[in-house]
């Protein structure tokens, strides 16, 4: 079906025969888990977050110097802010800080000003009066000019070309980000090999789409469909569940404030939902390799990088060696094709703090600036790293995905050195009943939607 082979007439609407009792073997692909840098070895939260920024600047400075020289010539002078003179046109490399009045600040919340109410959460915290500040190792300077305030976010490392004027503001004539890192060449497989990307299963809510999920599982395990479909299904080598397998309603916020003795006998909402999830995952893992990433609503730690879900939550599924729990963000090499993706928190955070509306645009921006989650640790919770920043893109992925988005979008981004990256936004299964199939041979992707059309005359929904 998804292999676009011209199918002969379906053979299942006929008397039983033995010819169709076929069994295809699951296609195999080499696999390597490259998420080691996202695994936390120690949990020391005693450090300051300044170290992350220091490391980020230090690591990316080298790349930015190269990019700046490439863009503006080898002889362009790169200055530190402390050495800069007024009126001198030069290049400065530093971290962007976006000053936003509406950004929730704990200091404002707990301040004792009269009538100071805590700010209600908003969809976007942007404002016209936001301004950009560039910080290098020791100083900061206000930026004005070509660099657009509304589409920039705090934490990106940028090289700006311009001059400081008398008022002390740096007038930006041009700017650039680090170049896309090098990409490994990929040996595409000869036949179609598919990876299923699904996210936002949302188990545990009132509106469960369990039949649709079951249909998807049946399709991947080769029970559903005609012989041709089953043959295509055998070409699925991996299923990556990109977060939010449990629904938001399983999160019991009251548990923090409610007295323990009142809630002693009540089980958490996530317990039942986890059992259901385990049932689905055991069906899948009996037949295909599965990687489960944690998401915002899953029982994992809150700050990035989220650690893999514990194996004790999947007692049945973990018996299979094909079941893997992986961190968020997740990087892996499937059949030489490098996948890198998150469960959506990084994109959602940038959405809140910039004027960018389109998830795919935001995804592209993170790839362009060379950092998976630039707003960490400012507005996006992050572990206080001190000697490395694992979110910096080391090598360009072939498939860069983000889960739990509103709809499916995809784009192929081309880099200056011939890199090609497929950007994919994976929609929430609980809302769209669709998942994404990535073809490793062609590096294209398409949507697979499952539906139960029930009312008479009801047409399957077109999305």
């Amino acid at each position: 079906m998804f292999s676009k082979d011209p199918n002969e007439e379906g053979t299942l609407l006929q008397e039983p025969t033995t010819e169709d009792m076929v069994q295809f073997e699951r296609a195999q692909c080499s696999y390597e888990n490259l998420s080691e840098r996202f695994m936390l070895k120690q949990r020391n939260f005693g450090r300051q977050y300044a170290h992350i920024y220091a490391v980020r600047l230090w690591v990316m400075k080298a790349r930015l110097v190269k990019a700046a020289k490439r863009k503006w010539g080898d002889d362009v002078c790169i200055r530190k802010l402390s050495e800069m003179e007024t009126g001198e046109t030069c290049v400065v490399i530093g971290t962007l800080f976006k000053h936003m009045e509406l950004k929730p600040s704990i200091l404002k919340d707990i301040s004792e000003e009269e009538g100071a109410m805590p700010q209600p959460p908003r969809a976007k915290y942007t404002e016209d009066a936001d301004n950009l500040i560039l910080e290098d190792e020791v100083q900061r300077v206000s930026l004005e000019g070509k660099l657009d305030v509304q589409t920039s976010v705090t934490g990106t490392i940028v090289a700006v070309y311009g001059a400081e004027d008398e008022s002390g503001r740096f007038q930006v004539k041009d700017f650039c980000y680090a170049d896309l890192p090098a990409q490994n060449s990929v040996q595409t497989p000869e036949e179609d090999r598919f990876v299923v990307l699904v996210s936002g299963l949302g188990i545990g809510s009132n509106q469960d789409n369990l039949l649709e999920l079951q249909l998807l599982v049946d399709l991947v395990t080769g029970q559903l469909g005609d012989v041709g479909d089953q043959k295509s299904a055998a070409n699925i080598v991996r299923v990556i569940v990109a977060g939010n397998s449990l629904s938001e309603s399983t999160q019991d916020k009251d548990s923090l404030t409610k007295a323990k003795y009142l809630s002693r006998k009540t089980a958490a909402g996530s317990v039942e939902a986890m059992k259901v999830l385990d049932d689905f995952l055991v069906q899948l893992s009996s037949c295909v390799d599965v990687d489960v990433m944690p998401g915002d609503f899953d029982p994992a730690n809150h700050v990035l990088p989220q650690q893999p879900l514990h194996r004790c939550m999947f007692p049945r599924a973990m018996k299979y060696p094909t079941m893997h729990t992986v961190p968020n963000p997740y990087e892996a090499s499937v059949g030489d094709v490098r996948f890198l993706g998150t469960s959506g928190q990084n994109v959602d955070d940038i959405y809140k703090y910039s004027s960018l509306e389109n998830s795919l645009e935001i995804l592209e921006k993170t790839l362009t600036v060379g950092h998976v989650a630039p707003t960490a640790p400012d507005t996006l919770g992050s572990y206080p790293f001190h000697d490395s920043d694992p979110f910096i893109l080391e090598s360009c992925p072939h498939v860069y995905f983000v889960g739990n988005q509103a709809k499916f979008q995809s784009k192929t981004l081309e880099g200056d050195s011939g890199q090609r990256a497929l950007l994919v936004t994976v929609p929430k299964f609980s809302q769209t009943q669709s998942c994404v199939l990535v073809n490793l041979r062609t590096l294209q992707c398409e949507v697979l939607q499952v539906q139960a059309a029930w009312e008479e005359g009801e047409q399957p929904m077109q999305e």
Binding site: A54, Q223, D289, Q451, A453, E458
Partner: protein, 501 residues
């Protein structure tokens, strides 16, 4: 072969299921029941539908339609379950149809798709059968047997143990079984670990009374502390008991104070104390017993000593960062810390009073020296941030230690009721109602009795104190405690009684 044999039979079976029992028969349930390949089951359903039509016994059918549909964004692969009435409409909405087959047969007209899911719910539990009857087989997906699983778990545990020494302290979080196993692996204090395991449970039940004691006995506390302050044991007990109620104020903090005063640069144990939680520090204290840890710690310390000697600044930073970490440890209470802390305290006090003080000093020094110094360049780049926070932590731990010392002393006196300490501690959360009460009171006393606080601060720096002196305050404290129990804590005690029941 089998198909022809089953020919007549399956039709009868289906007849029975659908008409007599009124069940919803999906292709999957049929394939499981008759142990046939799914494709065959689909065909069987089809022939049954045909037969029923001929016999004028209408049955409702749902079909599964796969195909591609055109949307504004491109083509979408669609998998649809459609009712028989809707089948043609669904097929026509798809640009290409790759397969159609019968999904289910039922007598009644279904209002929604739920029964389709529910009827297969039990079928889906039988994974092995599904895998064998499905059209796709995965040779890698063989369930592991229990031996393999145990082996993998062992490996994982060893991996975690060897990766960082601090991680060993995290192990208790995973479960009570693990701390036991871990200690066995360490080949030391196996008895102590097993002893410690039941202790926290018992400790939980009695934690409240120690709180009560603490709350009601501030005055006596202070007197006793003045008596006991000058001995090493007092210092230890301070550290020990301190850990208990506040649950986040580790020995290293005390040790930190002592290090400030002693200024002994010798480093013996590992760096990890900064990052590790209390249990690890306390384990450090038992270095005599814990052989493997000693090895690990020695290796680490040797590494660290070289680092430390290299950078004098590093040491200073370490001290300050150690102080910082301690301060933060104060604020964060964790299960495992509380769990292991009281056990180890007890053990230390009873069995090795002297070594504990020395070990605590060691630990404190380790902490001081710890530096996981950030790489030189980033530090150079951000010189301003580190100096500024550094001065602030040193002053702040001191008031904390004062308060903690106070609480520990009072609680500590109740030697036999240490378990109650654990209970309180074990309730884990900083925001725990019981813990909250305690800390609140502690702070109250601190504000009014500033002089006492300072006295106490001086006391713990004294040498180790014999265990006998602790017994003196303990009976005194015990006396008022029942009173306290009856008046204030009755409600809480009943809470615990319920739990015990």
């Amino acid at each position: 072969m089998a198909a022809s044999e089953l020919d007549g039979m399956y039709l009868e079976n289906l007849d029975e299921f659908v008409h007599d029992e009124g069940k919803v028969v999906t292709y999957k349930s049929l394939s499981h029941t008759l142990n046939v390949h799914v494709n065959q089951a689909k065909q069987m359903l089809f022939s049954f539908v045909e037969k029923s039509r001929k016999e004028k016994k209408p049955v409702h059918v749902t079909y599964l339609v796969n195909g591609r549909q055109k949307t504004e964004d491109g083509t979408v692969c669609k998998v649809c379950v459609a009712k028989d009435d809707n089948l043609e409409a669904v097929k026509s909405s798809l640009e290409t149809v790759s397969s159609v087959h019968v999904y289910s047969v039922q007598k009644a007209d279904l209002k929604d798709s739920n029964p389709l899911y529910m009827s297969d719910y039990d079928i889906n539990k039988n994974i092995q059968l599904s895998a064998s009857l499905s059209a796709v087989k995965c040779p890698q997906a063989q369930p592991r047997d229990s031996d393999e699983i145990n082996q993998l778990e062992e490996e994982k545990r060893l991996q975690v143990l060897s990766s960082t020494p601090g991680s060993s302290s995290k192990q208790p979080v995973k479960g009570k079984v693990q701390p036991k196993k871990e200690s066995e692996q360490l080949k030391a204090a196996s008895s102590s670990s097993t002893a410690s395991a039941p202790q926290p449970k018992a400790g939980k039940a009695k934690g409240q009374t120690t709180m009560a004691q603490m709350l009601t006995k501030k005055a006596t506390k202070e007197q006793e502390t003045s008596e006991t302050a000058k001995t090493d044991n007092g210092g230890k007990e301070n550290k020990d008991s301190k850990n208990v109620p506040t649950g986040g104020k580790p020995k290293p903090k005390m040790g930190g104070m002592m290090a400030f005063i002693n200024k002994n640069p010798a480093v013996k144990s590992t760096d990890a104390s900064k990052e590790s939680s209390k249990p690890f520090d306390q384990k450090n204290g038992k270095q005599d017993k814990v052989i493997k840890q000693e090895e690990v710690t020695k290796k680490e310390t040797s590494k660290k000593t070289s680092k430390v000697s290299a950078t004098a600044k590093g040491k200073e930073d370490a001290r300050k960062s150690g102080a910082k970490s301690k301060k933060i440890k104060d604020m964060s209470s964790s299960d495992e810390d509380e769990d292991l802390a009281p056990k180890k305290k007890k053990r230390r006090r009873i069995q090795q009073p002297e070594s504990s003080s020395s070990s605590e000093e060691e630990m404190s020094e380790d902490e001081m020296v710890i530096p996981p110094t950030p790489p030189p360049e980033p530090r150079a780049l951000s010189p301003s941030p580190p100096p500024s926070p550094e001065p602030s932590p040193p002053p702040s731990p001191q008031p904390d230690t004062k308060s903690s010392k106070k609480t520990t002393k009072s609680v500590n006196g109740a030697g036999g009721k240490r378990r109650k300490h654990k209970r309180v501690l074990k309730s884990k959360q900083f925001v725990n109602e019981d813990g909250f009460m305690v800390t609140e009171k502690v702070y109250e006393s601190e504000s009014t009795d500033a002089s006492d606080v300072e006295e106490e601060k001086v006391k713990p720096t004294g040498p180790s104190k014999p265990g006998t002196q602790t017994k003196q305050p303990s009976p005194e404290k015990k006396k008022p405690s029942p009173v306290g129990k009856s008046t204030k804590q009755a409600g809480i005690m009943s809470f615990f009684k319920k739990k015990a029941a």
